[in-house]
């Protein structure tokens, strides 16, 4: 982890801030303090209370969790917090994508049962909710895990395992 320690911490901090801000913004929009926002492929807002508010709350908590662990990310306890925050964003993103898939397989009001290929793919057009936009960036956190594992094994083989609290 030491090889990517500082960079990983900055990355996790940035990701945490963005996740927390997006989650909070979604809740503020739902509360009626702001109108829906659309920035490029990112959409803040929604219609489904369950996905919109509950999902946003989870993303915001995920961001807070990432921030709380970002400072000493080279330790396993802090990395665990960052990973748990990341998993929370993954949960919302993956279930949002699953919902899109489930809704776009049937043809809806069309006479046939299954949607056409164009209709199916069209359902995945942007804008996307924050968790889906954050998903590719959060995958980097999982990459740090594998980088950390590699380093641990190398350390153990050469007898240079560091502090017991470290990877």
């Amino acid at each position: 982890m030491k090889t990517c320690g500082r960079g990983a911490e900055i990355f996790a901090t940035a990701l945490g801030v963005v996740a927390m801000a997006c989650g909070a913004a979604n809740i503020l929009v739902w509360a009626g303090l702001y109108d829906g926002i659309e920035i490029g492929i990112l959409a803040i807002g929604g219609t489904d209370f369950f996905r919109w508010v509950w999902g946003s709350l989870v993303v915001a908590f995920g961001g807070v969790m990432m921030l709380s662990g970002a400072r000493n990310m080279h330790t396993v306890s802090s990395y665990g917090k960052v990973l748990l925050g990341t998993v929370m964003v993954w949960i919302v993103a993956v279930t949002d994508i699953l919902a899109l898939i489930c809704e776009s397989i049937p043809a809806g009001d069309e006479p046939q049962f299954f949607n056409s290929a164009a209709g199916f793919i069209g359902a995945f057009a942007p804008p996307y909710p924050p968790a889906v936009v954050l998903l590719p960036f959060t995958l980097a956190i999982a990459c740090f895990l594998y980088a950390g594992r590699g380093l641990t094994k190398a350390d153990e083989e050469t007898g240079q395992a560091g502090d017991a609290n470290h990877f």
Binding site: V58, L84, T95, C102, E103, P106, A164
Partner: protein, 404 residues
Amino acid sequence: MSISPSRRWELVDCIARRTVSAGACRPTLGGVLGELTVKPLTGIPTALAVLYAFWSVFGSFAGALVTDGFMVRIFDGYWLPWMQAVWPDPGSVHYFLFVGDPAAETCFEAFGMLTSGLFVSFGVVLPAILVFYLMMTLLEDSGYLPRLAVLMDTLLHKIGLHGYAIVPAILGLGCNVPAVTATRTLETKKQRFIMMTLLALFIPCGAQLGIMLQAVPDTVGWVLLYLLIGFVVFGFALSRVIPGSNPEILIDVPPYRWPQRTNVAKKLWNKTRGFLTNAVPFVMLGILIVNVLYLTGFIGWLADLAAPLFVTWFGVPKETVGPLLAAFLRKDLAVAQLSTIPMTPYQMITAVVLISIYFPCVATFAMMVREGPRQLLAAMGVLAVVVIIYGGLIHAVGILLGVA
């Protein structure tokens, strides 16, 4: 010879000091994640995320894909018109019993044994049950459920229970029958009584949830909120009123594991088979009995009799008496029937809450009988009081908000 709990713990400490030696421990990522999911500060947001996933997958797969996407179209577009076309003599009793209303355009409205009965069983409830048990098994086998029990321990102690009461509570969201059986894991009679009563009153089963999402989707959030409030408030009251103890327990928390595919498949099959063999006949029988009661005029008579209570005290139309009778057989069936009665949104919320709390379904009732007649009688007494009080309170809240 008996020793006090504090003396017992002192002895445990003494033995542990002499026999247990501790060395340096290298924390693993799995261990850290395990700890984070039981600490309230990090565990509660995680629980929120897990429950979000649970209900999101439930709604997406069972609701949007299987039921809305295909089953509604198959049953309303093909099965119902075909049954209406081929079944002879639309004015006859057998047509009313098996096909239902000849002018119905949806299987919810028809309310025949072979139309609504099959649609509710296989089009709505089966996919809901399947997804629910899949998610439940994954949580159980991954090791998350015991962590949720630890997390909920403090809160559940406030209502006279302990952390492991979360197991029957969550099981009850699938089906109240295994949930009643699971109350046996609780230590004292007081805990078992409170849990069984709360299950019968405030935990809607998966079948009911599935049909609520399908038939009255706009009211589901409010209904669940009312049920949750009722669970906490009446649980708190019961824990103060019912005599008995609420001891602390030790929960063995296993490490996180990847669920085994074969185990998941076996559990899923066993639970789904249970639904197919136990619940489906009840749905069919329920529709048949309710239709016979309609034909004989019994429901009309009962509706007139109970009208003052329903209209004045609960604030719902007297026609809801029919679904309430059906609810004793199957609650999912009753919600489906409610969805066809013209009501204001608030009346619908009240009526669905009443369906949930007024009486356990017959299968749960049978399980409660097996747990002991005295407990059952006491639970029924509590139930009757709670229905009258809570039903009236919900109506009062509606009047205060100007929506009733």
